[in-house]
């Protein structure tokens, strides 16, 4: 009706949003692709060096360890968080007081700062005052006591329990709402057919929420690429880069040595890896759907 006036309104309204979004989300991507070809310390002239940064990344054993650790995080999330959350979702489906309380308790770490979560777990693993080692003492398992975060062979695995503990609540709620969305008739039909308990879970309930499980797996993958805070707080990627993730590798190689060109190249590499991963997982799930 007021075509001209509304066109001005449309672009006046969208303009600031688009500028803000482009400037802080897209420009950095282009910037990092560009600076990835330079040797630049932040001050002075940037020197064009072609693909040298990328060659250095691919030769760097720390990069490969970081990539491997990211894969470990994905596997731990997929095979730790998802089954645990599914189990809890099935167990907590009624809502009496205790179950509601447990659901809130499991979700609580999701709303707290990862800094505090990481620090709490740092104290749990603490070599002198850590309650984990005190607990092992009390149980007479002194031999099992370890330097949980400073032993380079186990540091990355010590990070898995806090990882699972802090995110399981998210998957719990996702699965619980999927379970609630199963139509009541299906439960009735199962009752008439005399299917219940574990058999019902495996043959009816789980297939019904298969799509949600797939979404959860994709979330695990993208979530693992986002992990930075927990590792940075608990180990800073150490000892000797043993628990480095791609994001901490990028941080440590940029801001401790002022190599912005090299760091930009790592940024671009992470971007490519995550697009590949997300693309592959989307492709796999859509292919499956096409067949079904």
């Amino acid at each position: 009706m007021h075509a001209l006036r509304s066109r001005r309104f449309i672009w006046m309204g969208l303009g600031p949003t688009l500028i803000l979004y482009a400037l802080f989300v897209f420009v950095p991507v282009i910037w990092s692709a560009y600076y990835g070809f330079f040797n630049w310390s932040g001050i002075g002239e940037a020197k064009f060096i072609g693909l040298d940064n990328y060659a250095e990344i691919l030769r760097d054993p720390v990069f490969w360890r970081a990539l491997k650790n990211n894969v470990i995080f994905v596997l731990a999330s997929v095979f730790g968080q998802v089954p645990l959350a599914l189990m809890l979702a099935v167990l907590l489906h009624k809502s009496n007081l205790l179950q509601r309380f447990l659901r809130s308790a499991v979700f609580l770490p999701m709303v707290l700062s990862t800094v505090v979560i990481g620090m709490i777990w740092q104290y749990i693993y603490h070599p002198q005052i850590g309650i984990l080692n005190f607990l092992l003492d009390a149980l007479g398992l002194e031999n099992w006591k370890l330097e949980w975060l400073s032993d380079r062979n186990i540091a990355i695995y010590s990070l898995i329990p806090p990882l699972i503990w802090s995110y399981v609540g998210l998957y719990l709620i996702i699965f619980m709402s999927a379970l609630q969305n199963i139509p009541g008739e299906i439960h009735d039909a199962a009752k008439i057919d005399g299917v219940s308990g574990a058999r019902k879970l495996v043959t009816i309930t789980l297939p019904m929420i298969k799509n949600t499980v797939q979404v959860a797996v994709i979330l695990c993958i993208s979530g693992s690429l986002k992990s930075f805070d927990l590792v940075y707080i608990m180990t800073k990627g150490g000892p000797a880069h043993a628990s480095e993730l791609l994001a901490t590798y990028m941080y440590n190689s940029t801001f401790t040595t002022y190599r912005y060109g090299f760091g930009s190249a790592i940024s671009t590499t992470i971007m490519v890896i995550s697009l590949l991963l997300i693309g592959t997982s989307q492709w796999l799930t859509s292919r499956k759907k096409g067949r079904a």
């Binding site: 420009v27 659901r103 505090v116 998210l170 805070d229």
Partner: protein, 292 residues
């Protein structure tokens, strides 16, 4: 192994089955209760330990403090600059919250209620942006902020928090606003309300439920963020809560009670909000994760 007794028992005599079921229920509740304790214990430990002296950490790792050190909290508050960190967190959180809500609501109103050329492109732009892993932008954003002389200002946090909150906010709000019947705005046009009036007086109030979801997500994201603050802020006076707590822990590592008291103080606001709005927080965060 394969004795037929259970089968016979099942048909002839119901009592073993009942007691089996009772045992099952008992195991079920024990496992749930144990999991609940396990999941809450770290927080309980934090709260209790915040009152301890250093000797208590060695002598009574699982017990209550020998004497409750209330002054841990006052000392922590004074020595950690928590007051200024609270203020900074509040400023950047409210700043990005107000900006996100206004900009996202206006854009969503336009995307949901107007037909125009380029609408599909705008939506695709936001979808593509969601694929960019947030941490891979740290280095290029740092370079960008440096070039714009925004490092060590509140804007260095407010603007990226807003930009990265935009896609989820726009999807939540657009989906909500699309579901509102057309008659509403036709009626208001007849009344002579302009487009801005329609937006402020009708669309904003009507989308309150969606706005509250966006508020929760943006609040938690900005309040808990660590990585952006770590990279963009190094002036002590501007440090936000997670950054201040992490730095405080580095400085006071041997006074355990003091560090834990500071950590406890820093999580109190979030825990209080969680107790008040937990249902909304759970729903909001899962919606944000699945869409994001």
């Amino acid at each position: 192994m394969n004795t037929p007794t259970p089968a016979i028992g099942r048909t002839a005599d119901p009592s073993p089955r009942i007691s089996l079921r009772k045992a099952g229920t008992a195991i079920f509740w024990t496992v749930l209760a144990l999991y609940g304790i396990l999941t809450l214990y770290p927080f309980l430990w934090l709260l209790i330990s915040a009152f301890k002296t250093n000797t208590d950490f060695y002598n009574r790792p699982f017990g209550l403090p020998e004497s409750w050190q209330w002054d841990n909290f006052s000392r922590a508050w004074e020595s950690s600059r928590l007051g200024s960190a609270f203020g900074n967190s509040l400023i950047v959180t409210i700043g990005s919250l107000v900006l996100t809500l206004f900009v996202a609501a206006l854009s969503s109103f336009i995307l949901a209620r107007f037909q125009f050329k380029g609408k599909g492109g705008v939506l695709a732009f936001f979808v593509v942006g969601m694929l960019i892993p947030i941490h891979s932008t740290l280095v290029p954003l740092f370079i960008l902020m440096k070039q714009m002389s925004l490092l060590n200002t509140y804007w260095a946090l407010v603007l990226p928090y807003t930009a990265f909150a935009l896609p989820t906010a726009i999807f939540v709000l657009t989906a909500y606003l699309t579901s509102i019947p057309r008659e509403l705005e036709e009626a208001s046009f007849i009344d002579g309300t302009g487009l801005w009036g329609l937006f402020f007086r009708i669309m904003l109030p009507i989308s309150l439920p969606a706005l509250s979801t966006v508020t929760i997500l943006s609040f938690l994201h900005a309040w808990n963020d660590f990585s952006f603050a770590l990279v963009f802020i190094n002036k002590t006076a501007l440090k936000t809560l997670p950054l201040a707590i992490a730095n405080f822990a580095d400085g006071y590592q041997t006074d355990y009670g003091l560090t834990l008291a500071a950590m406890t103080l820093s999580v109190i606001p979030t825990i209080v909000l969680y107790l008040l709005f937990q249902e909304q927080m759970m729903k909001g965060m899962t919606a944000g994760a699945v869409k994001g």
